[in-house]
């Protein structure tokens, strides 16, 4: 097991957002966390990335205690988040956004080949390379956010709502690329509100509700589970 979260608690002041979450992601897996708004999914990835402090519990990645590290060192260890709402640098060009993704690495010769690899996944970004990022469409911005994360050479990619605000055909396109990225050996933890899409993409899934994991299992099983069907699949 590469990522292990054990009994994680996070609060915003008096409000408890996570109440003892435990989960794991094995090397090379795609795992999804589904759940409705306010279940604590985004809080979970934020605390994984060190953006918000945890109250108690343990987060380890390949034996490394992530809970003790600042965000930029978590990134350097290979755990990279594509945040909800994308958070691309609107004031910079597409190229600059991508270059920032490779901040941690020193060898500039590798950066060029990494750029080429990102353009293989997202040819559109190459056409837009000199444009300021705020001139991109929503879909292109999501591509840029994923491309920027790939520039870090992630081992575990944390995706927070990659389908948010995108047209259905774009969502399909993004998820196809996510599978291609996974085939290159990147593990993925996928946070998604579109439960059907998420469970068809991932091998395993967790269901979150009010800060707790209430259900876990193989995606196929969860798709058949009557509670999941009723609450998240709308069947």
């Amino acid at each position: 097991m590469s990522l292990i979260i054990n009994n994680l608690h996070v609060s915003y002041g008096a409000i408890k957002a996570l109440r003892g979450v435990s989960l794991h992601v094995d090397e090379g897996e795609i795992v999804t966390i589904i759940g409705s708004n306010g279940a604590g999914k985004t809080t979970l990835v934020k605390s994984l990335s060190g953006v918000i402090p945890k109250q108690s519990g343990k987060i380890t990645y390949k034996g490394l205690d992530l809970g003790a590290l600042p965000s930029h060192q978590i990134v350097a260890s290979g755990v990279v988040q594509v945040p909800e709402g994308r958070l691309i640098f609107q004031n910079l060009t597409v190229r600059e956004n991508l270059e920032l993704g490779s901040y941690c690495r020193k060898k500039s010769s590798l950066i060029q080949s990494d750029l080429e690899e990102v353009f293989n996944f997202f040819p559109r970004l190459k056409e837009r390379i000199k444009q300021p990022a705020d001139t991109l469409s929503g879909g292109e911005q999501q591509m840029l956010a994923i491309g920027r994360a790939l520039m870090v050479r992630p081992q575990l990619l944390l995706l927070d709502e990659p389908s948010l605000g995108l047209a259905p055909n774009l969502v399909q396109q993004i998820f196809k690329i996510l599978k291609a990225i996974h085939e290159k050996g990147v593990s993925i933890l996928l946070i998604e509100q579109d439960a059907f899409l998420a469970l068809r993409t991932a091998a395993r899934g967790y269901v979150m509700e009010t800060g707790k994991i209430i259900l876990e299992g193989k995606s196929g099983e969860l798709l058949q589970n009557s509670d999941v069907k009723r609450a998240y699949l709308g069947v």
């Binding site: 600042p70 965000s71 990279v80 640098f89 004031n91 901040y103 994360a149």
Partner: protein
């Protein structure tokens, strides 16, 4: 006409000094949204350290001494800026913004009155590093060698700054952090280090301004940073706080208008002018001349 041109040159020289200070204000604001009210006092420390270094190294009369004093004073201020950020601002970074603002005022008072305690309240006379000479004569308009040096030194420093911000990896990180701390941290940028670097850069520029002022207005004392600090702040707001080109434009406008008011109206109104400009800009264009979302904010 020639007297107008003469005033214009004097104004540009003053404006360059303001610009060096205003850049520090605007960069720090761009990166942590803090009006660093202690910045004018860092400029004072620049002038003071120039004074003490010159005495200590007993340097006088010659451009060589200026080129030793300038980088050393910049170094002292860079170090001071680094320490101020680490000790005073970093602990309150996640507190409400008003907390940091009050902290900045506290640091400012500390430097001013700590300075009086340490250096004495009496004015000191900056040693003549370079004797003043009319350097260029453009048909009755004189540019003194000191003014020339002030303008050229500021220009060179600003070109270096522009290069750092637009062409280096650290500069790119500064622009990224100015956009979002969270997004920057998530791509692996050590945000704390970038903030420290910004304070170092801004404070070094203020230190340079201190030494340059020592050349032309040799009276230095611990409270000398208050007025130029406020003026540079006004210049930064005028140009659009957070915008580097804005700081330059605002400073030149302020420097030139001040010398014009002194020359053609009355020097009594000189200091009032900055505040009139501040009130007008806040009333009619609070984002400043070049401010706004599409500006490169650092």
């Amino acid at each position: 006409m020639s007297s107008f041109l003469q005033q214009l040159i004097n104004g540009v020289a003053w404006g360059s000094i303001y610009a060096l200070i205003a850049l520090g204000y605007t960069m720090v604001y761009g990166i942590i949204r803090l009006i660093n009210f202690a910045h004018g006092d860092v400029y004072m420390i620049g002038a003071m350290s120039g004074y003490f270094l010159a005495r200590w190294l007993s340097l006088q009369n010659g451009p060589a001494s200026f080129f030793i004093i300038l980088p050393l004073s910049m170094l002292v201020c860079a170090l001071l800026g680094f320490v101020i950020e680490k000790l005073a601002y970093k602990p309150v970074r996640h507190a409400p913004r008003i907390t940091a603002l009050i902290t900045a005022i506290g640091v400012s008072l500390f430097l001013e009155y700590g300075g009086q305690l340490l250096f004495g309240a009496d004015p000191k006379f900056f040693p003549t590093l370079i004797p003043t000479n009319p350097f260029i004569n453009l048909g009755g308009v004189f540019v003194s060698n000191i003014q020339f040096l002030i303008i050229i030194t500021s220009l060179v420093l600003m070109i270096i700054l522009h290069w750092i911000v637009m062409r280096t990896k650290m500069g790119l990180c500064m622009r990224a952090v100015s956009f979002s701390h969270t997004a920057s941290a998530l791509v692996g940028i050590p945000v704390d280090r970038v903030i420290s670097f910004t304070f170092i850069l801004g404070s070094a520029l203020a230190g340079a301004a201190g030494v340059l002022v020592g050349l032309s207005n040799p009276k230095v004392e611990p409270l000398m940073g208050i007025m130029p600090g406020i003026k540079a702040f006004v210049a930064a707001v005028l140009g659009g706080i957070g915008s580097i080109p804005g700081a330059l434009v605002g400073s030149l406008i302020l420097g030139i208008s001040e010398t014009m008011v002194t020359a053609y109206i009355s020097s009594t109104y000189r200091d009032a002018l900055a505040f009139i400009i501040l009130i007008l800009i806040l009333l009619f264009k609070p984002t400043g001349l070049l401010g706004g979302r599409q500006q490169t904010k650092v």
